[in-house]
Amino acid sequence: MFNPVIFNKDVCTGCNICVDVCLMGILEASTEKGKPPIVKYPDECAYDGACWMQCPQREKGAIKIVPPLPMRVSILRGEKP
């Protein structure tokens, strides 16, 4: 339905820490060593970000969480201060 967790296969080392810590157990390690995990149950994501927080390659952009449209915040934009 949605694609909440997006891995960058060029950066992700396939360490699978995200698989271990996922609160909802929605990720599955790839059968190919060194490859990003598979998002097996995308519509059970809790959007808590544990996978993203504990990703050792986070700063390099290995993992991105994208909230689906109904969850995106409503913003009233102001002028530059």
Partner: protein, 586 residues
Amino acid sequence: MRTGIEVVQIDTDVLIIGGGLAGCMAAIKASEYGVKVTIAEKANTLSSGCAGTGVDHAWAYIPLIHEQMGWTIEDLIEDHTQLIARGFINKDLLRLVARENYDRMLDLEKFGVKIRYEDSQIPGKFRIVHQFHTMPSSFNFDGYDLKIKLTREAKRRGVDIVNRVMMVALLVTDGQAAGALGVGTNDGRLYSFQAKTFVMSTGRANRLTPSVTGVWGNHRIPVNETGDGRAMAFRAGLPVINMEFLSSGYYSIGNYELNLGSPRNTVQPAAAVTDADGETIVPRTQFYDWPNLGKEKVDATLNRQKMLSGGRNARPSYAQLYRQGEGPFYLDLTGGTEEEIKYIEWSIRNEGKGSLFLDYLKNQEGFDFRKDRLEWLPNSREMAGTAASGLVVNNDLESEVRGLFGAGDDVGGVPWAGAPGAFTMGWRAGERAAKEARAQQDYLPVNADSVESLKESCSGMLASKNGRHWREVEMAVQNVVDYYAGEVRAEKTLRRGLERLDNIKKNASFRAENPHELMRCLEVQSIIDNAGMVLNASLERRESRHMPFGFLRADFPEQNDKEWLAFLALRKKEEKLEFSRIPIKQ
């Protein structure tokens, strides 16, 4: 039928069911008494529970600061009792939290949690903010990785952590807790634990109603907290209190359910709520005047009276304002100084889903607190924090079943106990459970039929071709709870709700393709039991209990303190329900 589900037998001295904040604290403390301690955790203790991805505030009596103010521990207790709980509280347990949480914060510091800051002007170099109480009394701290640190400390002390096992049954022998059964959510094996004592700390009952955005999983409280602890206790014949208090949704930041004390709702300074034209609905908060700490002694009674009559920090009912056509509402930090905005961002980053949220806000939305405003929107409904539901325990956190202790959000009667409740109750429950386990020689025998019956029901779901997907049943239950235990309830509709829930139960034969889906099916069974408790308790409480409880019975519109200023307990006795009222000591 598929057979041959493997049974893993684990023997320990103290079994902790649920490894959130309370469970980890219980394990750490229990390990000091030379007993074998095991945590059974449905997910992974590194990320599970309400503080799985952080908690940044915890109220406490802080002698260093409060003595200078002339604010006593009894003032803190009275503030909490009157302002938060409106007298609807187990004051003995509240006293435990109030007395001991300062020491627990110092323990957390020993485990590597940062609670002191060089730039702080506050004694102890702490960061202390207002939360619920008339005086600033909440530690603000670096808690985003608290669960990682607690897990590390528990392991260092030799605690055995069994992750990815969902506990589903508590086995009681002659009035004493004897064993517990769980299911491996990855390996599909059945886990049979024998222990001398037990701590129940699985957390809150969530997923009882649909999420407000329609996105499954978008609830404030972690969605894998399905009230498993109270469901287990209820099935084992223990009483559970306050289940009628399923609240309407509050308002908070946007549609993204955050599990954090959002600015202006709880702790942070500088946040105001304004309307579309920029008119103030709730004025901005300020940092406390720390340089003048102690110059003037506080008048605690007067402050409480002011706050009760709608003074500082009074929150309007946004739902009511909305109905009057006064929305939309915006969280407005545009008047904040750089220092304040930096502080707020630090605070958001340390709690709940805030770390990810802030990253999303900045990098995916290009949001800037200095100029942009965030719309304030309703949250999903949840079990009320104002009248905490859960197990009935004594001052030592022990339930009426000997050897079964409760901790954290599995304990009923301490509203908004939150992190301090988890720290202190976990610690005390761990200590008591360890001491009692040490005094006990042997394991009690458990009923072997219960293992066989769980094996059979799990095999049935795994082998089923025609059973229902868990989500189908969950949606049906959620809709029933949402409609019949809605904003206004009444006898006839509640009875109809119970009939429909019964009907769902009759049709709820599940199918599970694998252990992961089996876990979800077992969660829905917890949800069904919790939903039944919500509807039954709502039917039995024949009064209304107005704000902040928001429990409205159309057929009993008055609040009736004479008869109902009491915790309503419900329990299963010989397949029938039994209700009792536990008087509240004032």
